[in-house]
């Protein structure tokens, strides 16, 4: 038995450069209030995103920025309001209008945030991993199944003896590895990982990130890595996109992006990450200024961009570098976000900073003098 991949052969020319998933103008609105309410919340407001083969793309942003909604739209757990999702060049939102085909679901798998909630507590690990093998027709005999299960456990660095355990008998890190193994069982081309490490202990996180990197390198799987942790995105992802209030504000090769952050929101976000090695921290006034620039921009430093003229209405992208391996773009600084989410997010930080006009001083000014 074979499962036909979606029709249309991949275009011969430029096939290598063609991303597995190409998202264009993705919009997702949620209705607020009752059935007849006309109030909408625009969680995702026109996002373009490419997932190239064998590459990890990070989507970073704060809660409410819409990053998880994008993953859920790609996994077809949510129906996008507008836009296109091309999978191998085929717009699946048109060909599979109402719900995703099994073939699509086989090729796009998701790893969830909560390793405690995403595994059925009534089933052993063996069952959790055997089901996708059966559903997607990757096994024909019991012996083959067993062999596949052992392979899967090996692939995610788990002892096959754990197959007979129930989820509650595993640690958080082990459970999340089972979650990854379950996704792998379907032999996907794309893995959507939504905050896969945020509920894990710090030392276990690195192990999971290394696993994702290995799967990318060894199996050429494309991954969307969604996180609020910029340092982990920098570590694991080839390219990083910064999301704010339903829109992407900056993107590029991860190291370049974080070393040369350009957009005020990206700079605000980076400044907020605790980092004892930071050489120069922003003071309260600088942070206030950045918040102001995000909400009420006045000027764009890239006004001389001849290809993409600045605009406060359209989210124009300015390319800062197109050099391969150092790609970096930023949304025009002058663009004013219309979303109420933007105001709310910034207001929250501003209110937390409320009245903090004093100069920041070292933490230890009040420490008692050392005893001699």
């Amino acid at each position: 038995m074979t499962l036909a991949p979606p029709t249309t052969a991949a275009p011969a020319a430029g096939a290598a450069a063609e991303p597995v998933v190409r998202v264009r103008g993705l919009v997702k609105e949620f209705r607020l209030g009752g059935l007849f309410s006309r109030n909408h919340l625009r969680a995702v407001a026109g996002v373009d995103l490419d997932l190239p083969r064998g590459s990890i793309v990070a989507l970073v942003g704060e809660s409410g920025s819409g990053k998880s909604t994008i993953a859920r739209c790609l996994a077809r757990l949510e129906q996008p309001t507008a836009g296109s999702v091309a999978f191998d060049g085929v717009d699946v939102l048109r060909t599979e209008r109402r719900r995703a085909s099994r073939a699509y679901r086989r090729r796009v798998q998701m790893v969830f945030q909560d390793p405690f909630g995403s595994l059925n507590p009534a089933h052993r690990v063996e069952h959790v991993l055997r089901r996708p093998l059966e559903i997607h027709g990757h096994t024909t005999s019991a012996r083959e199944t067993r062999a596949r299960l052992v392979q899967l456990m090996d692939a995610v660095g788990l002892d096959p003896a754990l197959l007979d355990r129930y989820p509650h008998e595993l640690s958080g890190g082990q459970r999340q590895r089972v979650g990854v193994a379950r996704a792998l069982a379907a032999e996907p081309d794309v893995i959507l990982a939504d905050e896969p490490t945020s509920m894990l202990d710090v030392s276990v996180r690195v192990g999971l990130l290394n696993l994702l990197r290995r799967l990318r390198d060894e199996r050429g799987i494309a991954m969307l890595y969604i996180t609020h942790d910029l340092a982990s995105a920098r570590y694991v992802a080839d390219t990083t996109n910064v999301m704010f209030a339903g829109e992407l504000v900056e993107g590029g090769e991860s190291l370049t992006l974080m070393d040369e952050a350009d957009h005020p929101y990206t700079r605000l976000l980076l400044s907020a990450v605790p980092d004892p090695r930071r050489v120069t921290a922003l003071d309260a006034d600088q942070r206030r200024e950045l918040r102001e620039q995000v909400l009420h921009p006045t000027d764009c430093p890239h006004g001389d961009d001849s290809q993409n003229a600045c605009s406060d209405k359209d989210p124009v992208h300015h390319w800062l570098s197109r050099e391969p391996g150092r790609e970096h773009w930023v949304r025009c600084h002058r663009y004013t976000p219309a979303s109420p989410i933007a105001t709310r997010v910034i207001a929250e930080a501003a209110s937390a900073a409320g009245g903090d006009d004093s100069e920041p001083t070292p933490t230890a000014t009040n420490a008692a003098p050392p005893r001699t």
Partner: protein, 338 residues
């Protein structure tokens, strides 16, 4: 030369589960000076929250303090009676809980809940309580009109600040904060931490700061203690421990964080190493992969020994009597340069 505010000495806490008690905290000693920010670092299950609960005498069955002492300004906390305990909690030592955002009562307004602190502990009149609650809210940058709001009407960051205001209402000398900003976004967390620092500077209280976020802890603390499996394995000035950790566990923990600067270097997860070496069998579980020879760690984690002035590391050895960790609060600023 003032005595330390809080002295925890040889504290052992057990959870009596079944017939074999689980030792959550074993023989832990540290002291916090007046006005000092002391960080307790470690992963979940290492016993750091248990210590926080013990300090405020909040441990409930099946947890028991089986040995050791806790002294607050020279007074024995473990021996306090009901009345003394009522005076101690909130007025002298207060706590901001891990899920503080959800620890507010949903059916009472912010004003009622803040006011309660003053009416209950200080016998204030309702009018007095109102005025002081308003002052308190403004202290954390929230408009006094919010006194009439219910918790669900405030954002997560605001609720968190209300809880911090509530904990500092009676000007306690010690504020215990257990993961105070874990559920918040970084941009908000940054502002709240800045606010806590400002408050701490103005009022000079001591802080016992518990978090799994090492970077945040190092930024804020004067000194830190790193815990592993119920024991403190390293204690010293925050910058010093971060820059040059001595204990192999601390080294692994510090290197488990991908950096925000510099080239990408391959990191090794700590649990991976332990697993690769054969799993947690006995002892600390870490001795198996220790780079240095620690054959005597295979049965237990050694006691702390002073490695250099003010810097304590759990390592074995025959010399040097083990005593409570230094009572000297070392300011972070000159700690790193020693």
């Amino acid at each position: 030369m003032s005595a330390p505010l809080l002295e925890v000495e040889n504290l052992t806490v057990e959870y009596a589960v079944g017939d074999r008690p689980v030792v959550a905290v074993r023989d832990v000693s540290f002291a916090i000076g007046e006005g000092e920010v002391f960080g307790l670092a470690g992963e979940s299950g290492c016993g750091k929250s248990t210590i926080a609960m013990a300090v405020l005498r909040l441990l409930k069955e099946p947890a028991r303090v089986t040995s050791g002492s806790i002294r607050f300004a020279g007074e024995d906390v473990l021996g306090m009676g009901e009345a003394a305990l009522r005076r101690y909690r909130w007025r002298r030592a207060a706590m901001v809980f891990q899920s503080a955002m959800n620890s507010l009562n949903p059916v009472l307004t912010i004003g009622e809940q803040l006011g309660d602190v003053f009416t209950t502990h200080e016998g204030a009149t309702r009018r007095e309580a109102r005025t002081r609650s308003a002052e308190l809210l403004e202290l954390v940058g929230i408009d006094a009109s919010r006194l009439r709001s219910y918790p669900h009407q405030l954002s997560g960051g605001m609720r968190q600040r209300v809880v911090i205001a509530m904990a500092s209402a009676l000007r306690p000398a010690l504020l215990v904060m257990d993961e105070p900003t874990t559920a918040l976004d970084v941009v908000v967390q940054q502002e709240i931490m800045a606010q806590i620092q400002r408050l701490q500077r103005e009022r000079g209280f001591s802080v016992l700061f518990i978090t799994h976020d090492m970077s945040l802890m190092v930024e804020l603390s004067d000194r830190i203690a790193v815990m592993y499996a119920g024991r403190v394995v390293e204690l010293g000035a925050a910058g010093r421990v971060f820059d040059q950790p001595e204990h192999p566990y601390t080294k692994s923990l510090m290197s488990a964080f991908p950096p925000l600067h510099g080239p990408r270097v391959e990191l090794v997860g700590l649990a991976d190493r332990v697993r690769a070496a054969g799993g947690m069998s006995d002892g600390c579980g870490f001795h198996l992969v220790c780079p240095s020879d620690r054959s005597d760690c295979s049965t237990s984690i050694p006691d702390l020994r002073e490695f250099e002035s003010g810097h304590w590391v759990a390592r074995s050895g025959s010399t040097g009597a083990v005593r409570a960790a230094t009572t000297t609060p070392v300011p972070a600023t000159n700690g790193a340069g020693q």
